[in-house]
Symmetry: C2
Subunit: 397 residues, 2 copies
């Protein structure tokens, strides 16, 4: 599921979005999901010890409501992070006002924020627009798309993925944002996964964790783990299909939706020209493969070589050597595209022109064999371009 296909509208959800004046550009910057009564929820959050106010508030809301969520309110343009007690208060005032207008509990409102760190959240701008935001909500694909647009920051395009279940009787649809500060650890930037099957919150939590391990937790654009990472899964139950009756089918659909969103996030990484599908093989354990993958994926020299489509495998080997895994260099091999370029730690003769052409494609494949065991892992990452530097040197506080 590389390319986004048709988007299904799971039953039981309404969407809306508006401009509240948080983004200087004047673009839509607040967005809402309304969920039908009885909707269950599970979430994963950033492991960064610096956590934004909405991450703390969202975690608490799920605990207090025992996994029941009726509304999701997202603002873009401001991360509400490193804003102290005032930041938590601002976040709570938005949730309380929404709860009052919707006649639900404040703990049933799940907040998210994304944008610049360390700037006070102008919560009055949001609360002033809440009545209009709520009354505009509707269950249409256009409204869903307006939600997906309004949560973006440096993203160049919205990220959607969707799959039907049980002959179209139910569906899973995911909406994500994220382009920089992408090195998720348990979750990625902001991801909303919606389904109309019925499931208990613990069932959802198990499925969500499984789906994230090899998707959002195996990607990196720049190695920086966000303070606001959140993946939220909501199940409305409106299809009448129970998770336990379609467990395998549901888990597969959820995994594929997460995989597609993860791929869309990487492909839309800031300044990215080349996506690299990095496969680590012959590791002793998945954690070991992940450590090697991350060291390679975060090496500036490897990433800049990829920007130039340069098959400079020596930089990859050097990264493996400093990864902290006790590899034997004499057993490490590297493949670029279809060719082995380094076998057992030593240069191979290979067609450099062909390797350059393969690395010049939008997506290419690099395999590193560690010669230590049977564990393997696929990790999705990117090159590092001058455009990335331009974007992030100019993005001002």
């Amino acid at each position: 599921m590389n390319q986004p296909g048709p988007v299904f509208l799971p039953l039981g959800f309404k969407f809306s979005a508006l401009a509240a004046g948080i983004k200087a550009s004047g673009k839509p910057d607040i967005a809402l999901i309304l969920a039908t009564p009885g909707t269950t929820a599970a979430a994963l959050f950033t492991t960064n010890l610096v956590k934004a106010a909405p991450v703390k508030a969202g975690r608490e809301a799920l605990a207090r409501s025992r996994g029941r969520i009726r509304a999701v309110i997202v603002n873009s343009g401001n991360a509400n992070c490193a804003t102290g007690v005032a930041g938590l208060r601002a976040c709570n005032s938005v949730c309380q006002k929404a709860a009052q207008l919707l006649n639900i509990r404040a703990s049933e409102v799940f907040p998210s924020s994304t944008g610049v760190i360390g700037v006070p959240l102008p919560s009055q701008k949001i609360t002033a627009k809440l009545p209009a935001l709520i009354s505009a909500a509707a269950a249409s694909l256009n409204h869903l798309r307006s939600f997906a647009d309004a949560i973006l920051t440096t993203d160049s395009r919205p990220k959607l993925a969707s799959l039907p279940l049980k002959d179209g009787r139910a569906s899973v649809t995911g909406i994500a944002k994220g382009s920089g500060m992408i090195h998720p650890q348990l979750a990625t930037m902001l991801v909303y996964l919606l389904t109309d099957i019925s499931a208990s919150p613990p069932e959802l939590q198990v499925a969500l964790r499984k789906a994230c391990t090899n998707t959002f937790n195996a990607i990196s654009v720049d190695g920086d783990t966000s303070t606001n990472d959140t993946v939220l899964l909501l199940a409305s139950g409106e299809s009448g299909v129970a998770l336990r009756s379609v467990r395998n089918q549901f888990e597969t659909a959820l995994l594929e939706v997460c995989r597609s969103l993860a791929e869309q996030i990487v492909a839309d990484g800031e300044g990215v020209q080349h996506v690299i599908r990095l496969r680590i093989e012959q590791a002793r354990a998945r954690t070991e493969a992940l450590q090697v993958a991350r060291t390679i994926a975060h090496s500036l020299l490897v990433k800049t070589a990829w920007a130039g489509a340069d098959p400079n495998w020596g930089r990859i080997l050097a990264a493996v050597g400093r990864s902290g895994i006790n590899i034997d260099p004499g057993r490490v091999s590297v493949l670029i595209g279809g060719q082995t370029v380094c076998r057992n730690g030593v240069a191979c003769k290979f067609d450099e022109h062909r390797a350059h052409q393969e690395l010049s494609q939008a997506e290419s494949r690099v395999i590193v064999k560690l010669g230590r065991g049977k564990s393997s892992l696929e990790f999705l990452t990117t090159d590092l371009t001058a455009e990335y530097v331009r974007i992030n040197a100019e993005y001002s506080t």
Copy 2:
């Protein structure tokens, strides 16, 4: 000792350099130091598990000669790394040929290589030039400078530092190269430290390790640890001054020479526009401070903010939060230049224009207080510019 001062010529050493045709540019690419009989030596090498042939051969030479070195032969333009058995054989053939011409043991010849990884070393090009290289050697500052020039690769300028000892009766002079793949772990790219005091190899080893801890081991340009890192300290004894009679003075001079070379390496980092003197305070231990410093120094978002002289401290705080140290965000403070920009995890009012101006200087100061203990550390690092990307995307295999 920020700026290189006058260079002293330690007694007992001769220098030469030539072009052997390894660099495509035709610039000098082989260089020689000849040391007087009785010269003692100590060295530190890269901790990268992928080690170049000369690193293995140099370590063995020191062991076999029990710390006696008579000649150092360096080539630039080829790292002789990931070249397998043939690479070791090429390295040894150069040392053996030099030993034969100089009528010394092969284990008294210390080899170094720097340049691209994974390309066979054309050792015949070097051995063919050895007679000319040896006969050209002389004990002059000009010859020393020709050595410093010939060992460079992407460096924009040679790196020298020198201090007199004991009223000028002895001296310490250091020569370094290094501009990319700079994140030394026990040593940095190539550094040659020469002194004419007399000392046993173990005395030199102790002094060398002390001097490197807070200099070469506390800098980073791009987070990539080289496969060829070597710091070699040679003591000719020709001054007649014994190390043990001037231990403090010698250790201070060695430290200052190493500090100056480390600063020169960082300032000449690939594409570097701004050097950041990053100070981590209130850590529980030096290792903890180092882990936080490295996480900040390797964050692409922090480094690109520095490129734009952007006082975006939120990115610094986010890096601290993912550093793996169990910090309490509510106790972390950040200072940029003379201003506190974040106090106890929360934004402070500060003069953004002034912070921008301070970060616009060639060198500026960032302090992060962890609120955990009394250990502190100074770490020297750089911004990440589009020029860095250009250099490394174009540097071809």
